[in-house]
């Protein structure tokens, strides 16, 4: 009973976007907001209609892939259309579109990337800044 109360505070299912991309045959990685209120994710933040539909079909989070697969299969069988536009959620995802009301096409939208090593768009490397700062600090120290 006590153990069942323990839930993760954040980063509940960081593997789900990639899993969903595979499951739905998406042309790109969905953002976390396909299910969560923000891209920070986290327990209790599933407020998007598509995410709620998955939870109603047994999705519990915490990164369990088999549970996500089962919930998604049931969603496909139930022909869920979260935004009521006449196209089923699974088909929207396969087309790279957000199945939520007011959702936008993921793959046509500029989304943020995190990290430095793949950041071709980044004009300045964070590691370069770090190296520069340390070089300045040590240089001054030697000079003194």
């Amino acid at each position: 009973m006590l153990l069942s109360l323990f839930v993760v505070s954040a980063w509940a299912s960081p593997n789900y976007p990639a899993e969903l991309e595979t499951l739905a045959g998406m042309p790109c990685l969905p953002t976390c907001t396909v299910c969560h209120a923000s891209n920070s994710g986290g327990t209790g933040t599933v407020t998007a209609a598509f995410g709620v539909a998955l939870m109603e079909r047994g999705l519990t989070g915490l990164g369990a892939v088999d549970v996500l697969t089962s919930a998604f299969d049931t969603l496909v069988t139930d022909a869920v259309d979260s935004d009521g536009d006449g196209t089923f959620d699974a088909d929207e995802l396969a087309a790279g579109e957000d199945p939520n009301p007011d959702g936008v096409a993921f793959c046509d939208t500029l989304t943020p990337t995190y990290g430095c090593f793949n950041a071709a768009q980044s004009p300045i490397s964070a590691l370069g800044v770090l190296g520069g700062l340390l070089a300045v600090a040590f240089g001054r120290r030697r000079a003194s």
Binding site: L5, C116, F117
Partner: protein, 387 residues
């Protein structure tokens, strides 16, 4: 430490999955008469690498002593327990923080922090940097870009101190705003984007501190570890705090940031937050931390006015053992029905050995300030250790 206590400590470490933790920011140190942060941390606004004095206090004041002296704190408190003699100007620190989620059938362990920190203090100059790894989360501090297990660099900055109490810093730093705490799920920290987990930004800051006053203002140039540039926030963040006496501090904070596109909403966004906070210890071994922030949000031309509040009560019945309770309330839009969320809870944190503590949290409510977020029971089991 007696063998039985050794065994108890070992059991507790094993219980939480061998995840120990870092010296973080402990704002409840006000109950020991510490309102300022500069004595214990290289960053005068708190958190991060400890000074020699901070290491010493960690040994003398923070941990449980089990009724007998633990030897020379000056030596025990040093890096690697004094096994390696570092140059006087150099501080090294290794921090590990972990959490387990013992949900039946899906037990997960998360390495939240595994950082190596270095700081150099030479004359007027100071430099500090950290690099480490996380198994999940912390994406704003990522150096690598994997679904799991990433390299992170939370802070890297250099500074000059042209006068006593004055420091001019440049680099990636924690934002000066509100109560600086390691508790990054507090609404007042997450809603304002001022956690010390991964919300650091590149910029230039000026801090000033005396026995009673501490203040810092920072110009924010953006987080270079998020790309492309349109997602980077620019603006300012500032705080000022005044210690009425050794056990009572009041403060105010203000910030404004703007980005061409927000990482969450993927739309233009301007955010302001202005707030007040206090740290008080009305009687010995007890402290109250409270903060209230007004949130002004402009999302793609649509304006919202909200609030984020938090109060934490901490009681230390025995040195090193903290019993705490907290309550918080947040609404990103006061006019939107069903937008407000709340959380109430409490827990125990025990600094059971040199540089090591475990923390158990439990309660009910919504984690993070999420409009319409579901309220539910929650529990967290963490362990911390640093060298």
């Amino acid at each position: 430490m007696r063998p039985r206590l050794h065994a108890l400590a070992a059991f507790l470490v094993a219980l939480v999955g061998l995840f120990p933790s870092p010296a973080a920011a402990y704002p409840w140190m006000v109950q020991h008469g510490y309102t300022a942060c500069a004595q214990c941390h290289v960053d005068p606004s708190g958190a991060g690498t400890l000074t020699d004095y901070g290491r010493g206090q960690g040994e003398i004041l923070l941990r449980t002593h089990y009724g007998k002296e633990q030897g020379d704190p000056e030596k025990i408190s040093q890096f690697l327990f004094g096994a390696v003699q570092l140059p006087e100007a150099l501080q090294l620190q290794a921090d590990v923080r972990g959490m387990v989620i013992p949900q039946p059938g899906n037990v997960r362990a998360i390495l939240m922090q595994g950082d190596v920190r270095a700081a150099v203090q030479a004359g007027l100059f100071t430099a500090s940097a950290s690099v480490g790894a996380v198994s999940e989360g912390g994406q704003n501090a990522w150096l690598s870009s994997n679904d799991k297990w990433n390299l992170v660099a939370r802070e890297y900055w250099a500074a000059v101190s042209p006068a006593k109490g004055l420091m001019i810093k440049g680099g990636r730093m924690n934002l000066p705003f509100g109560i600086r705490t390691e508790d990054h799920i507090l609404y007042v920290r997450s809603a304002t984007g001022t956690t010390i987990n991964d919300d650091q930004q590149l910029g230039l800051a000026v801090s000033y501190g005396t026995r009673k006053l501490r203040a810092e203002v920072m110009g924010i140039a953006g987080n270079l570890q998020v790309s492309p540039d349109v997602f980077r926030k620019r603006g300012y963040s500032a705080m000022v705090a005044y210690a009425v006496n050794k056990r009572f501090e009041i403060g105010a904070s203000s910030m404004f940031t703007r980005s061409e596109l927000d990482t969450d909403t993927l739309a233009p966004r301007g955010q302001m937050a202005h707030g007040i906070f206090t740290r008080a210890s009305p009687f010995e071994k007890f402290s109250v931390l409270a903060e209230a922030d007004l949130l002004l949000d402009n999302q793609d031309g649509e304006r919202f006015t909200g609030v984020a509040t938090a109060a934490v009560l901490d009681y230390e019945p025995v040195q090193g053992l903290h019993v705490f309770g907290l309550g918080e309330y947040c609404a990103q839009s006061l006019s939107a029905e069903g937008d407000a969320v709340w959380r109430g809870g409490g827990g125990v944190q025990w600094f059971f050995a040199s540089r090591a503590d475990i923390r158990l949290d439990g309660g009910y409510g919504t984690i993070f300030c999420t409009p319409g977020g579901e309220a539910r029971p929650y529990g967290l089991l963490q362990a911390h250790f640093y060298l």
